[in-house]
């Protein structure tokens, strides 16, 4: 009998500061036993529990896509005790990783559709995995147009800046970056809140459109309103949620929204699934 609470040992192989304030860092993690890497089969949109013995665990979305071989990518914003401890660790240090958990994005439903990805701030991690997955040569033809609206308060806050530039150069994805305040950075992209940009650049809702979203509460709330006005049905708006969680397997009881556990039944839900329990959001 396997114990679902025991993590795979992994080693930090690379640390990247995503933002100049150093509050958001990306960690590449390598399984110490290569066999564990083959056991760890995931889809974009799933998450894992990163574990530091003596500190605790943190549920973090997997930012690398299954199409990327080798080390797994996790981008962690420093907030509390465990994330702060991780931020203080160095390349070569070992931590634990268990998962993958959750349902991931609805790939079967997304196939053949126009995809509108809406993201904000440091919650862009699993959306990165999803976009990366869709842009692989084998996968790209399975989707119609791909729109991405990704916003931050300022240009500094955007994650994966090199990758964003690469995507901008491509002709098969329509990437729209936006900031609330460009400052003196010579910003040449959109200025304005994510929902405003969604209204401006995303196609109207139809049977052929799927919106996939992850970001702060306010962004989600107003982007949902925008998409509803653009006639996206609630069944075609997918939200990736983050709640406080401990076990990751639907047992410890805290991450539920109505009858659904974010860790187990989510973290990706349609708006239609959540509407009846919105008092829990």
């Amino acid at each position: 009998m396997t114990n679902p609470y025991i993590s795979y040992p992994v080693r930090i192989t690379e640390i990247v500061n995503e933002t100049p304030d150093k509050q958001t860092r990306s960690f590449k993690l390598r399984f110490i036993d290569p066999e564990d890497r083959t056991r760890f089969r995931f889809t974009a949109g799933q998450f894992a529990q990163l574990s530091i013995a003596g500190q605790g665990e943190m549920p973090i979305g997997i930012a690398s896509s299954p199409s990327e071989e080798g080390d797994l990518l996790f981008t962690v914003h420093r907030v509390g005790r465990v994330t702060s401890f991780l931020h203080a660790m160095r390349v070569g240090d070992c931590i634990g990783l268990r998962g993958p958990y959750g349902n991931g994005f609805p790939w079967e439903i997304m196939a053949g559709k126009t995809i509108v990805v809406v993201g904000g701030g440091f919650a862009f991690t699993t959306l990165r995995a999803a976009i990366q997955q869709m842009l692989t040569p084998e996968m790209r033809s399975q989707f119609d147009d791909i729109y991405v609206v990704y916003g931050c308060r300022s240009p500094d806050g955007l994650l994966y800046k090199t990758q964003l530039r690469d995507w901008q150069k491509r002709g098969d994805i329509s990437l729209h970056l936006t900031v609330d305040d460009p400052g003196s950075s010579g910003w040449r992209d959109h200025v304005g809140l994510v929902p405003q940009i969604v209204r401006k650049v995303a196609p109207s809702g139809s049977d052929n459109t799927i919106a996939v979203m992850c970001g702060p509460q306010a962004m989600i709330k107003f982007s949902v309103l925008a998409l509803r006005e653009m006639r996206y049905p609630p069944e075609q708006i997918y939200l990736s949620l983050e709640n406080r969680m401990k076990c990751g397997i639907g047992v410890c009881g805290r991450c539920n929204i109505g009858k659904d556990f974010v860790c187990k039944d989510g973290p990706v839900f349609t708006l239609a699934q959540l509407v009846h329990s919105r008092g829990d959001l």
Partner: protein
């Protein structure tokens, strides 16, 4: 199933024989509170009141080590040693039928884990190693309502054995092989027809004293959104202290926290009971809390028991009618009244 007769004065010898083979827990009175205590030969069994803390503690202890770790400086790899503490067989005597039934409901959470093949190994080990000897309720408390949830004061569900007090003798029903093995050391006379029919008449007469017409199963048929909108939550929350006693004493409440304990070069990861009544239970790293008010937390407790759990588990309500939350709530919040108010439609 075989049934035997144990003359009442022999109960001490019977427990002695059982304890000879395995660690034994019995209900005993300590500082005026009946709780399960480790039998040590001298302990006096108390069967007058149901133990305050239910038998769930044998499957989900209030504090349980999950594994130990070592943080050696020379080698940064963390070594994990799983706790093997829980694998020893133990016998719990004097378990009320409601508490045993609750173990079945807990198993739905811990051993299904919904869709993963991963069972909760700690719970599983304890299920495998624990023998439950039940004690039928002949005089249920005024706060008892097991019958409203399909239970019975003489119910046998999830028990390995059931003992029924017939006055000067005790009828011992051995339900599982585990129970037969545990009492094999003690020889008892087989029960005759007369004792068996006395027991079934007694079961009927006790059942007749139970409350009628409670609607604990009804809220699960109601519309979620309508239930969320009830004024009940705000009104009841005005009384509620969010003290959490209802969740701690509930035989089916099983929410837990996972924490690390550290000493110099090592420590352990452990889990403890947690409660949906506490605001930190759901507070996120950002500071945002989806259940930030007492009303929302109170709603969560009742919705989980009466609406979400049945929706996930074939209509089974996550309450066994033991009445502890009713009896011990410092402000008299009563799940029977809450369920009544959650029954809003006029359906059958």
């Amino acid at each position: 199933m075989k049934a035997f007769i144990l003359p009442k004065p022999e109960i001490g010898n019977f427990l002695e024989a059982v304890a000879g083979g395995h660690p034994l827990w019995i209900p005993a009175e300590e500082d005026g509170i009946v709780s399960f205590c480790r039998y040590d030969g001298g302990s006096e069994v108390c069967l007058d009141a149901k133990p305050r803390i239910p038998a769930k503690r044998f499957f989900l202890p209030q504090w349980e080590e999950m594994f130990a770790f070592e943080v050696a400086t020379a080698d940064p790899v963390i070594r994990l040693a799983e706790s093997t503490d829980a694998v020893r067989r133990q016998v719990v005597f004097g378990v009320r039928p409601c508490d045993a039934k609750a173990v079945q409901l807990l198993a739905m959470v811990f051993m299904n884990c919904h869709t993963t093949p991963d069972k909760d190994i700690y719970f599983q080990r304890r299920i495998d190693s624990t023998v439950l000897i039940g004690w039928a309720c002949n005089s249920p408390d005024p706060t008892c309502f097991c019958n409203a949830l399909g239970g019975h004061p003489h119910g046998q569900e999830a028990l390995d054995a059931l003992m029924i007090d017939l006055g000067n003798e005790i009828l011992v029903k051995l339900i599982t092989d585990q129970a037969r093995a545990v009492v094999a050391q003690y020889s008892m006379a087989e029960a005759d027809e007369r004792s068996l029919s006395r027991a079934s008449r007694l079961a009927e007469s006790v059942m007749a004293t139970m409350p009628k017409g409670l609607k604990l199963g009804r809220p699960c048929g109601e519309d979620t959104e309508a239930l969320f909108g009830l004024s009940l939550w705000e009104e009841t929350a005005e009384q509620c202290l969010n003290c959490g006693i209802c969740t701690y004493l509930c035989p089916t409440c099983s929410c837990f926290d996972i924490l690390d304990h550290v000493e110099q070069n090592g420590g352990c990861r452990f889990r403890t009971w947690d409660s949906c009544m506490f605001s930190l239970f759901t507070r996120q790293g950002s500071g945002y809390n989806p259940r930030s008010t007492r009303a929302k937390r109170l709603r969560q407790r009742f919705m989980h028991k009466l609406k979400y759990f049945p929706e996930r588990h074939n209509g089974r309500v996550s309450c066994v009618g033991c009445g502890r939350c009713v009896e011990f709530c410092p402000v008299n919040i009563d799940i029977r009244e809450v369920a009544e108010r959650m029954t809003i439609s006029n359906g059958a």
